[in-house]
Symmetry: C2
Subunit: 122 residues, 2 copies
Amino acid sequence: MSGLDDKSRRDLFRGSLDVMVLAVLADGKQYGYSIQKRVREASGQTIKAGSLYPLLHRLEADGLVKATWESDTGRDRKWYELTAAGQRRLKTAAADWQAAFARMQALVLPALRQVTNHPATS
Amino acid sequence: MSGLDDKSRRDLFRGSLDVMVLAVLADGKQYGYSIQKRVREASGQTIKAGSLYPLLHRLEADGLVKATWESDTGRDRKWYELTAAGQRRLKTAAADWQAAFARMQALVLPALRQVTNHPATS
DNA sequence: CTCATATATATCGCTTGAAGATATATAAAT
DNA sequence: ATTTATATATCTTCAAGCGATATATATGAG
């Protein structure tokens, strides 16, 4: 019944995290917690806080996002937005991400047809 | 110029390894070294021997593959083939793998369109 | 009014595991 | 004869994810 094991699922997710976070920021400012929620809703996987904030700090250090403390309600939040470099990176990274998947898919899909058409006798 | 960073690429690959190895075995017996080559050719990524053999042993321990020592040429090789359980696993794991990607893609693609249509001014 | 839960950000350190290094051995090529 | 490719396997180091933890405000229930 179990399909993909948890470890594989997490690795797959982890390898897509940068791209997904950049993608979430593509339509405007977001703060950490909201990014976490949006990624969880979209992917079904949770970025743990212990991974999210270091990741965000890394993107900031790399100049891909810019952060500012602001409060829209009474509450202070750290808002992140894409820099021009971040937008460029999103384009190239997303394209690479797609391409990497496409190559692997070209290996997996025919094999899947194979076992589907020739089921095990026992 | 750099798209997806190496770490993400490796994580992505690692999370797809089980599925790819099962996929390679879908059209018949293969031995470790040939599996390694086929995955490399298909994906452009190399499974290191230090990862491949432990992985193969794990699949064997899980009853997904069956291994036998045989020599077709003068040389002894350990041949792996899918068990019925392995074929079933390939089906569910490949489906899950696909689905996981589709979900993430649904987040990434619209964002990509977003930045492509509204390029940075600077 | 209090307690639990959700929101919100951040860091530290344990544990896990990928893969580099290494070992061993045969076939092929130069 | 020496190097390179083939072939399998293990050990151990090193990095890093994320569980645990800390801190603080907002909200909803009882």
